[in-house]
């Protein structure tokens, strides 16, 4: 009976191609509209101090250009400082002002010189440790490890300066460093490539890094004594750039601010990285060169800080006109359009009603629109029908079930030998109750993280029963509720984020006082606040006081630490909470987070549209963390309702939401859709027959279909648990497996329709609407009618068409 199947598959999948075309471009130049000078002031506070100055011109088209070398810089009191190229060196103490002139625009910045004669000894932490970072000596591929690597023990990314100092000065005395003849120290000889070194030449003899190290050796290779100023923040200039065509360059300047109030130009000590070297390459001198059209995030790392600026690279002389008729539906579109304008991209057209009803029904409820829903929606000609549809879908219980499932994945609701099915069911029911009653998420999270009591009597305590390891618990909390993976900082300061080991262990300290005892029922555990237990830092074994991630050290004396933490976590004071949640919601509806992966929020993985994310987070907070309202905002936006068809300006875009993306249906949605289309029931353990895969409470319950299509095992909190990649098993299972075929037989839909004396053409139309939420196209209709006419067995032909439709990409994707 499958003779026609391959033919049909080709037929029904032709509609999904995305067109390609070329684009025109031409030059664009003129007088700058704005002059940006970085930094905003100059503070020189020692004889060694200096400050480079950056000048960036902004043109009316939005393009920027590095004009530092062309701009005229003049110091009012030339006696105070010496200017070499764009860098100021101290000469005498005093205050003055620099005037910057370019293209008819001027800008002024204050200059202050103090202690110009003071040139004290170098500090190991402040001056020498940055050399190891800049030259990559202490990174994982060289010598950085818990106890060093390749014969030289440096702590990874310098998390333990005392041990580094010890290993430098005491491990191989007289050889690694030679204080009598500092130049003959192996440290310098290897670093400068004067003797064989696996890592090759890391710095120039006589260069700044070499000289710093040499001077420190000459001064006795001393460790720091007493309190050393800490780097409080680092700034990277310019904050953004829009570069005009391949080959354009932009210099970067990095400045560190210390806890003693001083600042330093650390451009030569910072380590530079780019997120996309295809569009923007960066040298270790801090020079960015534009490449292909695109976006890149340029980063500088110094001490434990990573900072970044977003660079956009456009084709040289691109002509661009924003069509006036494109207007946003709400604030979301305004932010998206703002970004697209910078990228010179025009968003696609709005999708058709047929596309909309299928997309929004699948996204909000995880089901396909019924034939009846389709007909009503298509017949409705009022202008607000999409809004009313969204409102209607948001009130459906299926909406709740989708989000309960997503939370259940994050909370790892899954029975095993330690966690009984009953406990998991109660936990799931608690979650379902909270989501169904639209409990504000902050309240739900506080209830969850501050939970005490039995795992049966107070089910959210299962959060602490499913993960009993203190460190893992804190990692899970950070990942689920703040979208951060802080695991790296367990062993070393996070190389691509701001989190240090101190941050990690201080955050974990909130979870050290979880008491667990058995209940009368062997399946139940009682979780309580034991009131005792501290977190030790592995370096120095000191007790770490509980400290919010990126926040304060709260008073926890006599309190349940978890309650204190939960109150902060789910509050407006925590900048990550609302952002993380809205990003997850956004990702569900747009197929990609504003930060992607949604649980990998870090400095080096910035949002593609920071203002949009901030605004969504603000709105979510204003809405009292009401999911429905934020979902409505998203679904109402023009951005959500865009067509998947790209235009010539946005065809390369996959990150800035200029057109809708094709999204594979997740396993549960797909199975439920197949059952819905074929009018069949599934039976899952613990659920009545006919229940949907979305409703499965226990992660341990699965089927071959769900497993093959990448259902989350709920073994970890990672968003990567849900596998969306296609594989051969999936294709073969759909074609030959027992799901589609046997469901067609089991549902017996075609025969029932034929028995109802429906015309084959009408049945054809119905199965198109059932599967694809659209009527067949004329060419499809005529081709298939021809087959129907040629064959006596209409049931078989129609079943084959149904089979083919369910194997089509149009069915397997939300588009």
């Amino acid at each position: 009976m499958t003779n026609y199947r391959s033919l049909f598959t080709i037929l029904v999948t032709a509609g999904l191609a995305v067109g390609l075309s070329t684009q025109g471009s031409s030059a664009q130049e003129g007088a700058p509209s704005e002059l940006r000078v970085f930094p905003s002031d100059v503070n020189l506070s020692s004889a060694r101090d200096r400050q480079s100055i950056q000048v960036q011109a902004v043109y009316p088209s939005g393009l920027t250009r590095d004009v530092t070398s062309e701009a005229k810089l003049s110091l009012a009191n030339a006696a105070l400082a010496k200017m070499e190229k764009n860098t100021l060196y101290p000469v005498a103490d005093g205050d003055s002002e620099i005037t910057v002139e370019f293209g008819g625009l001027t800008s002024k910045l204050p200059v202050k010189v103090t202690n110009h004669a003071s040139d004290g000894p170098l500090s190991f932490r402040l001056d020498v440790m940055p050399v190891f970072m800049k030259t990559s000596c202490n990174n994982g591929s060289c010598h950085g490890a818990k106890s060093g690597k390749d014969g030289f023990g440096l702590s990874l990314f310098g998390y333990d300066p005392d041990s580094d100092h010890f290993n430098l000065t005491r491990e191989i005395p007289g050889r690694r460093i030679n204080l009598a003849l500092p130049e003959q120290s192996l440290l310098l000889e290897k670093g400068a490539g004067q003797v064989p070194h696996t890592g090759g030449k890391r710095f120039e003899p006589g260069g700044e890094l070499y000289n710093t190290t040499l001077r420190w050796l000459k001064e006795g290779a001393k460790n720091d004594e007493g309190e050393v100023p800490k780097v409080e923040r680092v700034e990277l200039y310019p904050k953004e750039a829009v570069m005009d065509g391949e080959g354009a360059t932009q210099r970067l300047t990095v400045r560190a601010y210390y806890s003693d109030g001083t600042d330093r130009d650390i451009t030569s000590q910072a380590y530079f990285m780019t997120s996309n070297d295809n569009s923007a390459e960066v040298t270790q001198e801090g020079i960015v060169t534009a490449g292909a059209r695109g976006e890149s995030f340029l980063m500088a790392r110094f001490d434990t800080h990573t900072v970044g600026s977003r660079f956009i690279v456009l084709p040289k002389g691109l002509q661009f006109q924003w069509p006036e008729e494109i207007a946003g539906n709400n604030y979301i579109d305004n932010f998206v359009h703002e970004k697209l304008k910078k990228l010179r991209q025009i968003p696609s057209d709005v999708c058709t009603d047929e596309e909309f009803i299928r997309r929004v029904t699948l996204d909000i409820t995880g089901t396909l629109p019924t034939v009846e829903e389709y007909e009503i929606f298509m017949a409705d000609s009022s202008h607000d029908k999409r809004e009313r549809k969204i409102d209607e879908l948001l009130e459906r219980k299926e909406f709740v079930e989708v989000w309960v499932m997503k939370w259940a994945e994050l909370l790892k609701i899954r029975s095993d030998n330690q966690n009984s099915y009953k406990a998991m069911l109660l936990y799931y029911n608690w979650l379902k109750d909270r989501v169904a009653s639209n409990t504000p998420v902050d309240q739900m999270v506080r209830e969850l993280l501050g939970a005490n009591g039995g795992t049966f009597t107070n089910p959210p305590t299962n959060f602490y029963q499913l993960e009993r390891d203190t460190l893992k618990t804190s990692e899970n909390v950070a990942q689920v509720f703040m979208g951060m993976r802080i695991q790296c900082a367990q062993c070393h300061n996070h190389p691509f984020d701001r989190w240090t080991m101190d941050d990690y262990y201080s955050f974990s300290a909130f979870f050290t006082q979880i008491g667990r005892k058995s209940s009368e029922d062997v399946r139940e555990t009682i979780v309580y606040n034991s009131g005792g237990g501290e977190m030790k830092h592995p370096v120095g074994n000191r007790n770490m006081p509980p400290k919010f991630l990126g926040g304060d050290i709260p008073d926890v004396k006599g309190k349940d630490r978890r309650e204190v933490m939960a109150n902060w976590l789910a509050s407006k004071e925590n900048p990550y909470f609302a952002r993380n949640l809205v990003n997850r919601v956004w990702s569900h509806f747009l197929g990609r987070g504003i930060i992607e992966e949604v649980d990998d929020i870090r400095v080096s993985n910035p949002p593609v549209n920071e203002p949009l994310l901030n605004e969504l987070a603000t709105k979510f907070t204003e809405y009292d963390y009401d999911f429905k309202k934020i979902v409505k905002d998203i679904c109402m936006s023009r951005t959500y309702q865009l067509s998947t068809q790209a235009n010539e300006t946005n065809e390369t875009d996959s990150t800035n939401f200029s057109h809708a993306s094709l999204r594979r249906l997740r396993a549960e949605f797909l199975l439920d859709s197949i059952s819905q289309v074929t009018d069949t029931d599934d039976k899952f353990r613990g659920l009545p027959s006919g229940a949907r895969a979305v409703q499965i409470s226990d992660g341990n319950t699965s089927t071959y279909f769900l497993t093959t299509f990448g259902r989350a095992t709920r073994a970890s909190v990672c968003s990567c648990e849900v596998k969306m990649d296609p594989n051969l098993s999936q294709a073969l299972h759909l074609l030959n497996g027992d799901t589609v075929n046997s469901k067609i037989a089991q549902g017996n839909l075609i025969k029932r329709r034929l028995d109802e004396k429906k015309l084959p053409q009408d049945i054809l139309e119905e199965i198109y609407i059932r599967t694809l939420s659209r009527r067949p196209t004329e060419s499809e209709r005529s081709a298939l009618n021809e087959v129907l006419l040629k064959n006596d067995n209409n049931q078989q032909v129609l079943e084959d068409i149904l089979w083919a439709l369910m194997n089509s990409r149009e069915f397997l994707f939300n588009h």
Binding site: Y421, N452, F456, S519, E520
Partner: protein
């Protein structure tokens, strides 16, 4: 060690003709009793099913008040019995077992309630299609299948009480964890319950009808996971269902005023007359116009009176004054509530202090702390003895005032958070039991002896606050049965006991209060048999429901087709020695099956295989015993247990109680270390010390020599002081230090061998030295050697090693 054989004989009065037909004993199994319960004061017909129950003769009721009035086999695996339940029977769970002609089954339970029973009728699985029932006190007998929900509809008048109480998991059939709810006609939940401290995993709900109309009672498994064995008994009606009684205990023989708490309307007060003697499972029943409560509230009987808390008492200065040893009673009324009592105690008094709460089925998980007069904390406890309740033993350091504090572990509180602190003096106790042979089952927890045969078992003796020898009583055994047990030494907590049935003992059995007493007559404590009927397990490992039992089921059963005998050894087994114990099976004609033999009781330091088989058709087997170097010296009672397939189940008998004597080794051997080169001989010198003189020659041989190394067996006698083993090696003998060489010495006494494993040494085999290269240097050495006397001095191994080492050193320097 002194021991006294104690044999109590009951001569069989009725001599029955022994059937010449080979009757096969079996091990009956009881898995289900249906219905799961009945009303007190009525007659019920029970269907008891399991395995091998066709020859059932008697139900052994572990409680008073049940009378078996008829029995009728249904098929090989089940039978029917008519049982009369007296009106005085305690409400609740009762343990029973079945005695057949061929054995005693495992335990099962039967529930007694106050109301008449009715059957659940399907279809009642939807809210829209419930089973109609009258709102009168009755007990629905039902079953929940997978994902099944049972609905019952009642009509109630406004103000009328609707109560439901479910026995589900406690029925002990399967892991069925019931949930119940009372819903109004619009599906609004008026009360719902999954687990409650009052009823463990079972549930109850009670509401007052807010208006005239229909109400729906829903019963299901809490996770929709019922199965074919998920039976329940749901008491429905208007009965009062208090969740607690306060105070929850009183003085024996006194009348006490109590208040029933936790009911939907007003609390209920009553006077209760307490029995004069202590009894387990005592409870009080609430009664009002709605009827009698479906099950009692636990109530403690105590030799002393009550002190009731007086609020406010939330800090030490406001503590309720109390006197020991009266029990202190209170309620943790609200979240965060703390109760203090103050009392005086005398120096050096030691008390066991229990805070009873969960044992009273109160929701409270108490934490109890003791303070001195200055508020200094002395001791405290949250959970003890695997219970949420608190307990500590405390010796008061000085005369004075003390205070005791009670609060909830999670700082919760409520109107029914009742507790009771009892002070009891430290008293000795002994429990008897039979150790489990399977980790998760009741196998061999009863005694049934084939006529004319024997069964022995190990018994555990758990002494608390007491030490010393114990004598097992064995009084009240069934007719024709005798018991044989030596006095249990003070240092032993497991001990073998043998039961023997005369060939003419009548088939029959009983439940026996099996007791013991200390050998020291000054001690007045009596020990009793204690066991645990474990019914429902979680993941096959942890017990979710079970019940203690305190009587030993014991019976005489039909003959078995074989008996066992240990051939009494005439020699001891020595420390570090071994013995081949011969066991003989006396088979009846025609019985040829394989017999598995176990050796369950091993005195300290004796080890052996867990079982050995007498193959089909054979009648002897050798059970090898080993004694380690610390095996306890003395004469020990031992027995062998046989298990064979009797055709319908396992038939078990044991041998007579034999004596195993453990003695120190007769001889000590000290072996010197030796070294040689491949292919050269070595002497192993052995010093002999005879500690127990013996007659004749003993033989000794070296065991554990390396490949191709040999030494001949040698003889010695009690006079021998030294032996030299000549060990010959071959060039193929492996180089290295060969440890694990020892002597096997056999002394023969009374014609039986006594095998010793003695000594331990090391033989070093080296490669031959390379021939010396430079001869000139060798000559002066030869000259020096010449003047040495050529006495055949045997070098000690150490000297040899030193010499060889020097030679090697020289050779290597060259």
């Amino acid at each position: 060690m002194t021991r006294m054989t104690q044999t109590i004989c009951f001569v069989g009065l009725i001599a029955l003709t022994v059937s010449s037909v080979l009757l096969e004993a079996a091990d009956p199994r009881l898995t289900l009793i249906r219905p799961r319960g009945g009303q007190r004061g009525t007659e019920v017909e029970l269907l008891l099913s399991g395995n091998r129950l066709e020859d059932a003769e008697q139900i052994l009721f572990h409680s008073e008040g049940f009378e078996q009035i008829g029995i009728e086999a249904v098929n090989a695996n089940s039978f029917k019995a008519k049982v009369k339940i007296a009106h005085e029977v305690r409400l609740g769970e009762h343990v029973m077992a079945v005695r057949t002609k061929s054995g005693i089954s495992d335990y099962h339970t039967f529930w007694v309630g106050p109301y008449p029973s009715a059957a659940e009728k399907e279809p009642n699985s939807t809210f829209e299609q419930p089973q109609e029932v009258e709102l009168t006190n009755q007990t629905m007998e039902g079953r929940i299948d997978n994902e099944d929900v049972d609905y019952f509809r009642v009509n109630a008048k406004k103000g009328q009480r609707i109560s439901v109480e479910v026995e589900g998991l406690r029925l002990g059939n399967t892991l069925f964890d019931p949930y119940c709810a009372i819903l109004d006609k619009d599906r609004f939940e008026l009360a719902a319950c999954d687990d409650t401290p009052l009823l463990y995993q079972d549930c109850m709900a009670s509401v007052v009808a807010p208006e005239d109309g229909v109400y729906i009672i829903e019963i299901r498994d809490s996770s929709y996971r019922g199965n074919g064995a998920s039976y329940y008994r749901a008491h429905l009606g208007t009965f009062p269902r208090p969740t607690a009684v306060y105070p929850a205990g009183g003085q024996l023989g006194q009348e006490v005023d109590v208040t029933y708490l936790g009911m939907p309307a007003a609390e209920l007060k009553a006077k209760v007359k307490l029995p004069a003697t202590q009894s387990e499972d005592f409870g009080v029943l609430a009664e009002d116009a709605g009827g009698l409560s479906a099950s009692p509230n636990t109530f403690r009987l105590f030799p002393h009176g009550n002190v009731l808390e007086v609020e406010p008492n939330e800090d030490r200065t406001k503590a309720t004054p109390a006197t020991m040893p009266n029990a202190f009673n209170g309620i943790i009324q609200a979240d965060g509530d703390v109760d203090f009592f103050k009392f005086t105690a005398k120096k050096n008094e030691t008390w066991e202090i229990h805070c009873h709460a969960r044992s009273l089925r109160s929701p409270l998980d108490p934490v109890m702390n003791l303070y001195d007069a200055n508020g200094k904390g002395l001791t405290g406890n949250d959970d003890a003895n695997r219970s949420p309740d608190s307990y500590f033993r405390y010796k008061f350091p000085a005369d004075g005032e003390y205070s005791i504090r009670v609060t909830d572990h999670l700082k919760r509180g409520g109107a029914d958070f009742v507790y009771r602190i009892e002070f009891t003096p430290v008293t000795p106790s002994i429990d008897l039991g039979i150790p489990r042979v399977t980790r998760y089952g009741q196998e061999r927890q009863t005694i049934y002896v084939p006529r004319g045969n024997r069964i022995a078992t190990r018994m555990t003796i758990r002494r608390q606050n007491f030490g010393g020898d114990v004598i097992l009583s064995g009084e009240g055994l069934p007719q024709g049965m005798t018991m044989q047990a030596l006095q249990v030494p003070a240092n032993m907590s497991t001990w073998p006991v043998l039961f023997e049935a005369a060939a003419d003992a009548p088939i029959g059995g009983k439940l026996l209060d099996f007791t013991c007493k200390p050998a020291d007559e000054k001690q007045t404590v009596t020990g009793h048999f204690k066991n645990f009927a474990d019914m429902v397990r979680y993941q096959n490992a942890q017990i979710l429901w079970g019940r203690p039992v305190d009587q030993l089921a014991i019976a005489v059963i039909e003959e078995s087709p074989y008996s066992l005998e240990i051939v009494q050894p005439k020699v001891p087994i020595v420390q570090n020695g071994s013995m081949a114990l011969k066991i003989i099976a006396h088979r009846k004609e025609g019985f040829t099956k394989k017999i598995r033999v176990e050796f369950p009781f091993r005195s300290p330091g004796i080890g052996t295989r867990s079982y050995i088989d007498i193959p089909e058709g054979k009648s002897e087997v050798i059970y090898s015993l080993n004694a380690n170097s610390n095996a306890a010296v003395g004469k020990w009672p031992v027995f062998a247990l046989g298990l064979a397939d009797g055709g319908k189940g396992t038939v078990m008998v044991s041998s007579q109680m034999a004596t195993l004597e453990v003695a120190p080794p007769f001889v000590q051997l000290a072996l010197e270390r030796a070294a040689t080169e491949q292919g050269k001989p070595a002497d192993i010198i052995c010093k002999v010390t005879t500690s127990t003189p013996y007659e004749g020659d003993a033989t000794v041989k070296l065991v554990g020599l390396p490949h191709k190394a040999e030494a001949v067996e040698m003889k010695l006698n009690k006079e021998t002081a030294e032996l030299i083993f000549k060990v010959n090696t071959a060039v193929e003998s492996p180089v290295g230090k060969h440890k694990n060489i020892y002597c096997q010495l056999v002394v023969t006494q009374n014609g039986e061998p006594i095998a010793h494993r003695l000594g331990s040494t090391q033989l070093q085999i080296d490669k031959p030295l390379p021939p010396p290269k430079e001869k000139p240097k060798a000559q002066p050495v030869a000259k020096k050697v010449e003047p040495k006397p050529a006495a055949p001095k045997v070098l000690t191994p150490l000297e040899k090693l030193r010499l060889e080492a020097e030679k090697r050193k020289e050779a290597s320097q060259k």
